[in-house]
Symmetry: C2
Subunit: 410 residues, 2 copies
């Protein structure tokens, strides 16, 4: 008998009819004899409705109270799914974040899970009940309701799976797994039945939207296998992607997939003194403004000055630029410039560890198409390049073909 | 400095704009220097929306899970009102039933409050915050979410007022107080500025819809003054009705008002043995079916048998009749009959205690209009009669005039 944690996203529980379908699926799993814990999101559209009510107030109120409002969406779903299960004679019991003992820090709207008290859930499981837990929410040490940020339900699911030592964490969504790249960009993209958590981590952080990056980090840290499935498949025998420990994957490929992110912007500050601490002086004010920096590149000049380039989310571009200009004045920089029409393309694969020459092959393929590389960054299992946004699709298709990822590849 | 508990109903918080109006009103009260605790209902329409989602499931699921869903309505309002207050620089903090320490029994959908832990609210009040509490909800001893039944927010408000030893519990609604009778039936009905809790209790249980009967019972038991006000009045100097201890009301009138209830049905069983315990044999099965019995009347016959008549809510008529017929067979009754087109009219007034002849005057006035009385029931401060439903309005108007309750009365 296995213990399975399942998570259903907003479109999977988007209407009472969809909820009934989920209930039938959960019951089928239960009847195989497994213990089932289900994590639910708010019904699709519900979180936006609640955000709309808050926005109608034109409020500058606290995020504590926003979390109070937003956390109701998942509570509605958990009650409805429990009712749907009871209606088909499948005993169920719902848990709010608080009832599930999900304790977070007090960072409202982006709280992090600190601990889970699994005892009450274990007791109800032992009585044969299916457990339904509200995703996206917890309480801090003082009992204030917190939320984990958009997509936080994935994180709830993985955290519960870890706390309960589940055999697998299943993420039901509207696609049937992870693909070698986005099929909307490359029609020939192929389904990946199995990949390593570390690869998924790079795929997720490089812009693949199937799983929340925080959830994958959690799973990676605690070795929790995640399976991505579609809740729109008829049966339970459809395709899926198992994201698991590297050593559980027989075949290591050099390149598992091509990830990309078009929401990037690049900033450069030129002619700053090449002294220790200058990186901190440049990036400190940026991160103080809560702007996340992605890639960083520093060119050492010859005249005792240096050029410094970094990328950020495109939405933060104008704010970051004015901060950088202020820093530039203080440091006596010769120039501050930027570009918000860039994109990042990455190839990911655990096999890179043992294969040399992957980068060379990547650069050769891109240069053959005349695509100029503006920045390069590498890790053990991925290589990212920044290109002009207009080349994004061409770059993705080129790399997808160059590494033989398509279904028509030999 | 006073401590005031205010309760705002669904129409008072029916939209973000209405919530902003409530926030302004709460702030005005706060600025007078009083401590303010606010209890909120779900936005009007919200509870029906949630009930609709549940009904769409065609579920026979547990009331535990229904409470999980229904309790979210008030949680949304409490968060929105707190945000609206913070936006106008009035520090506020919201409390779910659980956070407010409202412990109930486990009777889901009609739970009764057992205790309230007022310590956390007191602490936040002492820091100058306005406290917003979700009405209608609590948790049982095991932390399961419970609801108090429709209109339960009034009960939450009074219970909190009692626990906090508030100076007054203000119920904001869409009318500006209690009237001598329903102005839709008697245009001449007059506003009552002050009446006794015991009178309100009889008015409420006799069908006056302004306050929830359970809330008034609670206030009566603990001597908590309730003020009924309209949240649609522009300022705070509009009309209101103070419902308070009898000894705080200088002028005792003989008849305070005329209450009525048209949702009544009458059942009669004839020719049953006139033995001890027969009443229990007749009414036991009725109350086992959760049908509430209102008036009861027993005529002793001459031949060792008796006739037994009682009234119930009209919605339960057919179920009660089939139960009664089964009982009739067992007891060898000569006849079971009923009428679901009856209504109850009552006059209420604490002054009745010291005035004789009120009943006579009532019966005289009704007989002058040719209205036949089918049942009569009296308490210390009220007299109720059952009449054919078609006479209801006539009876109410007749009594309203006979006891000089209209604004044109001398």
């Amino acid at each position: 008998m296995a213990l399975i944690v399942q998570k259903y996203g907003g479109t999977s529980v988007g209407s009472p009819d969809r909820i009934k379908e989920v209930a039938k699926r959960v019951k089928r799993w239960r009847e195989r004899g497994d213990d089932i814990v289900v994590v639910v999101s708010a019904m699709s559209g519900e979180t936006n409705r609640l955000v709309g009510l808050i926005n109608d107030l034109n409020t500058n109120g606290s995020s504590r109270e926003k979390d109070v409002v937003l956390s109701t969406g998942e509570q509605v779903t958990m009650g409805l799914l429990s009712l749907a299960l009871e209606s088909i004679d499948c005993p169920a019991k719902s848990y709010t974040g608080r009832q599930a003992g999900i304790i977070t820090n007090s960072a409202h709207s982006k709280a992090r899970i600190e601990s889970i008290d699994e005892a009450p859930i274990r007791k109800d499981l032992s009585e044969g009940k299916v457990i339904i837990v509200a995703g996206f929410q917890g309480v801090d040490g003082e009992g204030n309701i917190t939320t984990l940020g958009r997509g936080g339900s994935d994180t709830t699911a993985v955290a519960l799976a870890v706390a309960l030592k589940a055999d697998e964490c299943q993420i039901y969504t509207d696609v049937d797994g992870v693909y070698t790249t986005d099929p909307r960009v490359v029609a020939d993209a192929t389904h990946i039945p199995k990949l390593a958590l570390e690869e998924m981590l790079e795929m997720a952080s490089q812009g693949s939207k199937v799983l929340q990056i925080r959830a994958v980090e959690f799973a990676y840290k605690y070795d929790m296998p995640i399976r991505v499935l579609s809740s729109f498949d008829d049966g339970d025998n459809g395709k899926s992607t198992l994201v698991t420990r590297e050593e559980d994957i027989m075949e290591q490929v050099m390149v598992r997939g091509v990830a990309f992110n078009r929401d990037e912007a690049q900033l450069t500050i030129k002619g700053v003194p090449d002294t220790p601490g200058v990186a901190f002086e440049i990036l400190g004010p940026i991160s103080d403004a809560n702007i996340e920096v992605d890639m960083i590149l520093q060119n050492i000049g010859t005249d005792g000055t240096t050029d410094f380039t970094f990328t950020i989310n495109r939405a933060d571009y104008s704010e970051a630029m004015s901060i950088l200009k202020a820093t530039g004045k203080t440091l006596g920089a010769s120039e501050c410039k930027g570009d918000d029409r860039i994109a990042k393309v990455s190839i990911v694969g655990a096999g890179m560890r043992s294969h040399a020459g992957v980068a060379t092959e990547m650069f050769k393929a891109l240069s053959k198409e005349g695509i100029n590389l503006r920045m390069i960054s590498t890790s053990e299992i991925k290589i990212s390049v920044v290109v002009d946004e207009k080349y994004l699709e061409l770059a993705v298709r080129t790399l997808h073909e160059a590494f033989g990822l398509g279904s028509k590849a030999v």
